[in-house]
Symmetry: C2
Subunit: 255 residues, 2 copies
């Protein structure tokens, strides 16, 4: 007999270092060739935030950043570079918490996260440059998905993942900051459980679980595997976006 | 050429409904036979919290629970059954937040979670019974791991997963509440990034990412696939436990 179900996560070899203006679908084509893989209907392509940001030219030279008085104050409270803090503030709608070495904000996209995702790791000249999140990660996913559909005539969902810290738990995990072609949130309200009782847990962070699974194979330290195919998931019940994963401030007990 | 790496997640068919006193290694043996699978060195076996709790007899009849005044008060504030609240309190070291329909506590194991994991879904007679978390999920993992080693002479890591809500994000995701045979937290401090710069993100919630990946195949609604094999991960660098994932209260900005 067969297993009750199986999923595979394939890290695509051969994605080159990404430069501003690179077309992600061209990079994907190269990686598929190198990896000896072809896309299939129902695959979910998970792309690391970093290469989406790079391709969109979201690299900023720190020397070009002039920190505001508020950034200078927060830099002093957190021990961070005031130009970095200025970038964080420019990407944020609200500072949620700050402490020594910690700056947690609400990103303009709604995600509560450290440093608004402004990052200096895994980029060239990381001491002088910083990388911001993509302008609109859901739109980046929709665009890439449409290009894939056009080029290979397959229906593939796309997720952009990033590594976020969490309240209450140590360690970062992969989460979805962009999604297209699948529901980010699976709504199980009304479905019966094993014994016909209505399920208490009603919504599953589906795209986040996909993002975390992809992070497992991407690795974190210099592996440079920024594209992963997730294969074997049930066909998506609807289209969606990572905005579904953002809990509104009024609904959150920890804001 | 090959992909740069791949992981597979196999949901094991044929795990029977679990009763108090059932030996999980016997259930695993039955599921492996039904699924036509054999364990391999380096596999991670992910087991759903629910069947571990059931096998340990952690089912409690609500009629046997006498709510304390504090439980009655919290029941009135949250709109929950006072006997359920009493069970939650008996499993908790602290109430972290409460609101209508919401009771978030620090479980005695340290996890900040809703209802201390006390659950009425997917158990027989869910209206009259509730299921508590395993007494010591790390120890349950160690025990199961040792039994597997003895029975099949393979070195397999074990993770117990559960579905938790998160601050700031909608939807529950799989997390690890028990682990043995692998690090729950991967420490990347000191490892260089792609460009030789020291990594800023230093710790990865490895067991949580495995738990989330397994949740993807387990499904949530009546699928009844409580055992998943995760195959293809790099050999674990050390033994560990899910306690590593608990952030100490003093270190958390959201407590």
């Amino acid at each position: 007999m067969e297993p009750a179900g199986s999923i595979s996560l394939l890290a695509l070899a051969g994605v080159p270092l990404v430069q501003r203006g690179d077309d992600l679908v061209d990079l994907l084509a190269a990686a598929l060739r190198t990896s000896g893989q072809a896309l299939r209907h129902g695959d979910v392509l998970v792309v690391a935030q970093k290469i989406v940001s790079k391709s969109e030219g979201r690299r900023v030279r720190l020397a070009d950043v002039v920190p505001s008085p508020r950034a200078i104050e927060l830099a002093s409270l957190t021990g961070k570079d005031a130009r970095l803090v200025e970038l964080v503030l420019s990407e944020s709608s609200e500072v949620v918490r700050h402490a020594r070495d910690v700056l947690i904000v609400e990103h303009r996209l709604g995600f509560v996260m450290a440093n608004a995702g402004v990052d200096q790791s895994n980029i060239e000249d990381g001491d002088q440059w910083a990388l911001l999140l993509p302008v609109d990660p859901d739109e980046s996913c929709r665009r890439l998905r449409a290009c894939i559909q056009e080029r290979w005539d397959v229906d593939v969902a796309v997720v952009i993942n990033d590594s976020h810290g969490r309240a209450f738990r140590n360690g970062v995990v992969g989460v979805s900051i962009g999604a297209a072609g699948l529901p980010a949130l699976l709504d199980l309200r009304g479905e019966p459980d094993l014994f016909g009782r209505q399920l208490r847990i009603t919504q599953v962070g589906h795209a986040d679980e996909i993002a975390a699974a992809a992070s497992l194979v991407m690795g974190q330290a210099g592996d440079g595997v920024p594209m992963v195919l997730c294969r074997g998931l049930r066909p998506p019940s609807r289209d969606g976006s990572a905005r579904e994963l953002v809990r509104r401030k009024q609904m959150d007990l920890f804001r």
